[in-house]
């Protein structure tokens, strides 16, 4: 199929799936993109493609800046905002010949687990439960995941702060990859919690994810947290050390974190997990139970740290220099001290306000020690937990030991666990008018994804299908997560490929 044909199909799907609300801004049917795809087709026939994504349509989560399309973050505050510049990742994709397929819907500023906190309305998944009720697309990159799942684009960029790429991938049956922190530039990615924010990739399979990753996995001097070429080559040579290079050919040691076997785990997810492990064993790999004792604290730590950084990052939306400014008496009465109250009151949705308040509280002088500082300690412990179980050492940790590997004989190469503890909930059960819906329930969905975010580790969610034991015609879809040591992104993608789309 020609690239042009494929692109036209994507555009057609954008139209036919408009009700899913996956994209906030879509591509016009006729536009300069047509010419660029035709050129890419020509290059492909001549064998001179710019990259693996030359001529492909890639959707961009609407908290990643694009110069040509608005960047709203699904917020009233940036309702009509168009950034004056392209994010580095967008720039790199365009230079590689890819076309921005549109801006995908999300939870406002990336805050949410179901993509329902959007100024442009909730994202809807194609998936329905047995009673035909709409299910959550997951969040916050739900728009990107649904756009991929319904072929409105070839692949999509999302952002993953505590699971925002992996969770929607798991809920929509797509592949969602969060690379190691610092590999993909965050320049132009609207910050939610800088120390956790990672650009992630959603694709229909691992190979398309790998193609996109190959383009955006580059150093960028404009992002102070982007790994320099020097550090990258240090990691490379670390991975090329004999003990670690051998993993390419010999059987892998796969870890199963015992603490992830929680009572809330739904039977179908548990089944998908155990069958995935069984499948891996059949492939000749070995399975090892491991312990990550601070896992239970990780979620609490995350919901202290992320809102703290968010309350700081979102202080800039005051309507003075850009964005929406609310009209009304408050804007004019400077001396009263309420200059921004109205603008920010109208600009932010309830979940964003909740997290700003949480963050402002945990950073306040009296609460700082009990919350923010404690959470940072927990974060450090979570990292130690991972370092203790992985065979490869953290390659850029300070006080690096002489060896490249963990002397512990049970140390593992990757961890395999579920992405989410249950299958996607019904959208109706999540909406505000449901008296039993508490924001804490939504936070619970991140329990398996947050630890890798806190440690900055590469993690990917791949869909596996499991025959239902009750009714063999019905199959359960679940996301299985592969987590690797920092910098071990290739290994994570490789293991993910083994499981991707398996019918187990």
């Amino acid at each position: 199929m020609s690239l042009l044909r494929e692109a036209e199909r994507c555009i057609a799907n954008q139209g036919s799936h408009a009700t899913l609300n996956a994209l906030i801004t879509t591509l016009q049917h006729l536009g300069p993109w047509l010419e660029r795809v035709r050129d890419a087709d020509t290059r492909r026939t001549q064998g001179t493609s710019k990259s693996a994504v030359d001529g492909r349509l890639i959707a961009i989560k609407d908290n990643i800046c694009t110069r040509d399309l608005p960047t709203t973050c699904a917020s009233n505050a940036l309702d009509k905002f168009t950034s004056p510049f392209n994010a580095t990742a967008v720039q790199q994709l365009e230079e590689a010949g890819a076309i921005v397929a549109g801006k995908s819907n999300l939870d406002e500023f990336g805050m949410g687990s179901h993509s329902i906190n959007s100024r442009f309305g909730p994202v809807r998944s194609l998936r329905r439960n047995r009673d035909g009720e709409s299910l959550s697309a997951g969040g916050s990159s739900g728009g990107s995941a649904v756009a991929v799942a319904t072929a409105q684009c070839y692949a999509a960029l999302g952002t993953d702060t505590g699971g925002s790429v992996r969770l929607p991938a798991a809920y929509t049956g797509t592949v969602g990859f969060k690379p190691s922190y610092g590999l993909i530039s965050r320049w132009g990615v609207v910050a939610y919690a800088n120390s956790l924010d990672t650009v992630g990739i959603i694709g229909k399979d691992v190979s398309s994810v790998r193609e996109v990753f190959g383009v955006v996995n580059r150093p960028d001097s404009r992002d102070p947290t982007s790994l320099s070429s020097f550090t990258r080559s240090r990691i490379d040579s670390h991975l090329r050390s004999p003990a670690l290079a051998a993993r390419a050919t010999s059987p892998l040691k796969i870890g199963v974190p015992l603490e992830y076997n929680i009572s809330e785990l739904s039977p179908s997810v548990l089944r998908a997990w155990s069958r995935s492990l069984a499948y891996m064993r059949r492939q000749g790999h070995t399975i090892h139970p491991v312990s990550l004792p601070t896992t239970t604290l990780a979620l609490s730590a995350y919901y202290v740290l992320a809102p703290a950084e968010a309350s700081s990052n979102l202080a800039k939306y005051d309507g003075v220099r850009y964005g929406t400014r609310s009209e009304g008496p408050n804007s004019a009465t400077f001396p009263s001290g309420y200059l921004y109250a109205s603008t920010r009151g109208v600009g932010f949705g309830s979940e964003v306000k909740r997290r700003i308040l949480l963050g402002a509280f945990s950073l306040s002088a009296d609460a700082m020690d009990n919350y923010f500082i404690q959470a940072q300690r927990v974060r450090r412990l979570v990292q130690h937990d991972f370092d203790a179980v992985f065979r490869a050492h953290q390659p850029i940790a300070s006080g690096q030991p002489e060896t490249n590997t963990n002397p512990e004989k049970d140390a593992v190469d990757v961890l395999i666990c579920p992405t989410a503890p249950s299958s996607p909930p019904r959208i109706s059960s999540l909406m505000d008018h449901n008296p039993r819906a508490s924001p804490l329930d939504a936070y619970m969905n991140d329990v398996f994804t947050v630890p890798a975010s806190l440690a900055g580790l590469p993690a990917i969610s791949v869909p596996v299908t499991v025959e239902s034991t009750i009714d063999s015609r019905d199959a359960d879809l679940a996301g299985i997560q592969v987590i690797g040591q920092y910098g071990d992104d290739s290994l994570v993608l490789k293991v993910a490929e083994l499981l991707d789309g398996r019918h187990l």
């Binding site: 609207v190 005051d318 400077f334």
Partner: protein, 763 residues
């Protein structure tokens, strides 16, 4: 007094001098404590403004009643930069109106001083330029005076009434209270009617004015009045001083200072945007400076260099690892909603600054005092905001993220004068190591002071700051922008706290403000309104690692500290008086010192054959000429320093001739002036051609001159003989020099002859 004020301001332009608004200055003469108004102006405008001085002379009779008392003109060595007005180099001095009448307490938008000046400029329009009367409408922009005054003629009433009404003290001190009203009204009428004549020449209104203002019979002579006033001021000063001393005995003041200084860098702290502040508003801004979504900071390593120079010059330990934190508060000049600073781990700690007597510390601090520096941190500046009430604010983001250093001293200062000296000294240190752009006078430096008091000998206070315990509750006074205001604000705040405590109250921990010229600090916000800055490590910025090699490299290339230079110049090798050494070091960023050094070296070489005793004084002589003689010519010609104007070898050659007594002092001055004016002949040739070499007078010639002088003034000779008024000998020396051939009479010899003739009675 004019001279004293000039000397005082030439020494330190901030000493007792603070602008009120744009061009008027409040000047306090340090010697007598007089407060006067200086109308400052720039060089280009001086020509016009100096005409006012002439007008005042014309109005000499009505000064103090219809127009303010005019004290004289002032040409300054240094300039005072006032934003929006430029470099103030000249001043008209006038009597000060009323102290309690200050900017913020006034219902009018401008101060008395401004009103005075407006009235003066109007009088220029009337008499100086022979123009027709301006219509009253043209003054409608002036603040209208309070309305319960008896009606005067419309134009002049509007013009002068605010001054008269609001400033009773000025008129009281200079004219008899009883006769003031009639004079005032008549003077005004005269001013009005006569100056309004369109064809009147300059002289006519003068004459009319003089005749139409009747002299009051019971008026106390001006000189006497001034003397009485000075006495009263002195008494008042003494009283305050005594009170101060009493309260100092009882209460101990403790002050800590935070100084924010703009670093001298090309780029901003976290973006590549240039730091120029003079460019078009909002032209030097990067995406990050405006806090655009998705933009990230890019630390500019070069900005670290001036910061490190500052830290090293302040004797700090540079920290191998430091970090950046976010300080949150909402304000429109703060685009990100937070300022990036170094709260938890600053880049430099544990420094100190030594203050000496000549730095202006308080007498009770003795010869020197060492003030610890707790830490130095880098941070971002904010945007410049201009307020146009009621609802317009203009923002210029050019300044946003300009790198600043914040220098926090230990609370180890115990007197207001020492606090001001500390700020002055830190500014001088920052400037000498080229760490900062400008000083306080240009807004490049701002200070916040923390003030607390505790009773001496009493149970220790319960508060501790900067690791020092036992202190009283402190208050913070924010944003002080001159050395004078640092001192005044601390005095005012100390007195306020003492008053609160002595009346049984409790000092509240709060933030207070200070307005130049006021006598009280005012509350900005209390504890309940205190901002919780929610400091958080910046998650985008990695820690800053500073290598010891960089620090030692900078330490080696740092210029010698001014303290060390001062010690050298005042030491046995140069023997300069401290008050000469200081300006030599400070003038023209060291260029004057460099020139001086060259002159001394050359002069010493030329004088090698002279006796060692004479050689010792060479540096001192050279200092005098470089600083005062060359400096005086520069001031007179209103020129800026140029080492080539009088090349160092030329000055050395001239001084060599003087030291060898081949020319007299006055001749040397004359030659210097000629060289200064562009005479490029070599000194020996010049002296030769102009016939300036001293031909010593014979003893007979001296005797003849002396006798001639004595004969003309027998009475004075008697006074010298009878009353031993030896000082009057000098007057005779002057007479002889005037009578003798120019440049040939040597004062010493003349004095010797006079003594011989008058005292020893040889005649």
């Amino acid at each position: 007094m004019l001279k004293q004020v000039k000397q005082q301001l030439d020494e330190n332009i901030d000493h007792g001098c603070a602008p009120i608004g744009h061009c008027p200055f409040k000047i306090t003469c340090a010697t007598y404590g007089y407060t006067v108004v200086g109308k400052g102006t720039t060089r280009p405008l001086w020509h016009q403004v100096s005409r006012e001085a002439e007008i005042y002379r014309v109005f000499s009779r009505v000064q103090g009643s219809a127009v303010p008392v005019f004290l004289g003109k002032l040409d300054l060595d240094k300039f005072y930069f006032v934003h929006g007005a430029g470099e103030t180099r000249h001043m008209l001095l006038m009597a000060w109106g009323d102290e309690s009448y200050s900017l913020d307490s006034s219902p009018l938008p401008s101060s008395v001083a401004i009103i005075i000046i407006i009235s003066i400029s109007i009088s220029i329009n009337y008499c100086g330029r022979h123009s027709a009367t301006k219509s009253p409408d043209s003054f409608s922009s002036l603040p209208s005076p309070p309305s319960n005054e008896s009606p005067l003629s419309a134009t002049t009433g509007l013009m002068l009434r605010p001054w008269l009404r609001q400033c009773p003290r000025a008129t009281r001190s200079l004219a008899c209270p009883q006769c003031r009203p009639p004079i005032r009204i008549r003077a005004l009428d005269a001013l009005h009617t006569h100056t309004a004549l369109p064809s009147s020449s300059l002289s006519r209104p003068i004459r009319s004015l003089q005749t139409s203002a009747p002299e009051s019979q019971d008026r106390i002579p001006l000189r006497k009045q001034l003397k009485q006033d000075a006495k009263a001021v002195k008494a008042r000063k003494r009283q305050t001083r005594e009170n101060e001393e009493a309260s100092r005995g009882k209460w101990e003041l403790t002050v800590g200072i935070e100084i924010h200084a703009q670093l001298n860098t090309e780029s901003k702290l976290f973006s590549r945007a240039p730091t120029s502040s003079t460019d078009l508003p909002n032209s030097n801004v990067a995406l990050f400076d405006l806090a655009y979504p998705g933009a990230q900071p890019e630390f500019q390593i070069a900005t670290l260099l001036p910061a490190l120079r500052a830290a090293i010059a302040l004797n700090c330990d540079v920290q191998p690892v430091s970090k950046f934190d976010r300080k949150h508060y909402f304000y429109q000049d703060q685009p990100a909603g937070y300022q990036i600073t170094q709260y938890y781990e600053p880049f430099a700690r544990n420094g100190y600054v030594d203050l000496f007597r000549h730095d202006g510390i308080a007498p009770e601090d003795g010869d020197s005092v060492r003030i610890g520096i707790k830490q130095v941190q880098m941070e971002q500046d904010t945007a410049k905001s201009q307020e146009y009430p009621p609802s317009l604010q203009l923002l210029d983001f050019n300044r946003v993220s300009h790198p600043l250093v914040e220098i926090i001293t230990m609370p180890q200062i115990h007197s207001p004068a020492t606090a001001a000296a500390c700020v002055r000294k830190i500014q001088a240190i920052l400037q000498s190591c080229n760490a900062v752009t400008t000083g306080m006078e240009l807004g490049g430096l701002r200070a916040d002071v923390n003030v607390s008091i505790r009773q001496r000998g009493d149970a220790a206070g319960t508060h501790h700051y900067g690791g020092i315990g036992g202190l009283g509750q402190r208050t913070e006074i924010k944003n002080l922008s001159s050395f004078k205001s640092v001192e005044d604000a601390i005095i005012a705040e100390k007195n306020r706290q003492i008053a609160v405590l002595e009346s049984g109250g409790v000092v509240a921990g709060e933030t207070r403000g200070w307005t130049i010229g006021s006598t009280e600090t005012r509350r900005l916000r209390g504890k309940e309104g205190e901002v919780d800055y929610r400091y958080m490590p910046d998650p985008d910025l990695p820690p800053l690692y500073i290598g010891e090699d960089l620090v030692s490299e900078l330490r080696q290339t740092l210029p010698t500290s001014s303290d060390a230079l001062l010690e050298l110049l005042a030491g046995p090798e140069y023997q300069l008086p401290i008050e000469d050494a200081k300006p030599l070091i400070e003038l023209e960023d060291g260029a004057r010192l460099e020139y001086y050094q060259e002159v001394v070296d050359l002069l010493r070489e030329l004088q090698q054959d002279q006796d060692p005793q004479a050689q010792k004084s060479l540096a001192r002589v050279a200092g005098n000429w470089v600083l005062h003689e060359v400096g005086g010519l520069l001031t007179k010609a209103e020129l800026v320093w140029d080492a080539q104007r009088v090349p160092a070898p030329t000055l050395a050659a001239l001084l060599d001739q003087l030291q060898r007594k081949r020319i007299t002092g006055p001749t040397a001055r004359r030659v210097l002036a000629m060289v200064f004016e562009g005479d490029s002949r070599a000194i020996p040739q010049l002296l030769e051609e102009e016939n300036l070499i001293l031909l010593p007078l014979s003893r007979e010639e001296y005797v003849a001159l002396a006798e001639a002088a004595i004969d003309q003034n027998p009475a004075m000779v008697e006074q010298i003989r009878e009353k031993k008024q030896l000082g009057k000998l000098g007057w005779f020396v002057g007479q002889m020099m005037r009578m003798g051939e120019k440049g040939r009479v040597e004062a010493q010899k003349a004095d010797a002859i006079l003594r011989e003739l008058i005292l020893e009675g040889r005649r």
